[in-house]
Symmetry: C2
Subunit: 155 residues, 2 copies
């Protein structure tokens, strides 16, 4: 029988504090998320972009000519950061920034042909990285994992 009356440790018993912390879902989530980000960002870096570029490029592809603010609302990026991301994408020739004649406050962001081609490659690279991320899971486990993960993410 173990000693279970360690009052000072708040009911956690004799478990080492570090062991306890590392067992927390939040800790494991951070580890898994960091691994995913590493895998994905390394893959995308082979095409010279970051994850934010991929996300914004995807949004532009979906929404056709679209204002920056609308992109920001859709993707969740701060307007400040959106400026930099679009600067990069524009400099790389993947999107165009044109003044909107109907509302001169807005920039109409559009995908270039090269942007479309790049996006297709990015999507493939992203899929491959995610394939590796879930490599230890069987197809059934992946489905179950994603289902539970979504519940946790949405709260």
């Amino acid at each position: 029988m173990e000693n279970e009356t360690a009052a000072l440790t708040g009911g956690a018993g004799d478990e080492p504090a570090l062991t306890r912390i590392r067992a927390l879902p939040s800790w494991q989530l951070n580890r898994a998320s960091a691994r995913g980000r590493r895998l994905v960002s390394e893959a995308l870096a082979r095409e010279g972009v970051r994850m934010s570029h991929h996300a914004v490029l995807s949004a532009v592809s979906d929404l056709g000519p679209v204002a920056q603010a609308e992109l920001g609302r859709t993707t969740g990026f701060d307007p400040k950061d959106m400026v930099g991301i679009l600067n990069d994408l524009q400099a790389a020739g993947l999107v165009t920034r044109a003044p909107d004649p109907l509302d001169r406050r807005k920039n109409a962001i559009s995908l270039t042909d090269e942007g479309g081609r790049r996006l297709a490659r990015l999507a493939e690279l992203g899929d491959e990285a995610n394939e590796e991320l879930l490599g230890a899971l069987t197809p059934g486990e992946r489905e179950r994992f994603l289902e539970l993960l979504r519940k946790v993410a949405e709260g």
Copy 2:
């Protein structure tokens, strides 16, 4: 029957690019992890510390008097960041930094009584935050989720 011959989109069919990205495990992992970090860090902030403080405090509690470099290796923090974290903990009176007489290169980091009490409260707050993080899952689902999560995190 849907059109499945959209060559340009690399086999993804007619699915919008954003929908595709958001369905990726890496994307959902990031969302869930961000939510967990937000919940935990908000909870720990009520005791005036960040997650790194909690982790290091736990390591000090486990390892008794211990050198900074050893703490860094155990917790994975960069030596540079460890300096700042210990500065904070020391300023708050939670740990002591004493020169190690046996090896004058080292600082012997020890937990103070107040550090021990604070750590117990932090552990409780962390547990509560994690309880909320997994609130949408049944006990059985939580167990299964953690099991799969560990596999993904470890790669």
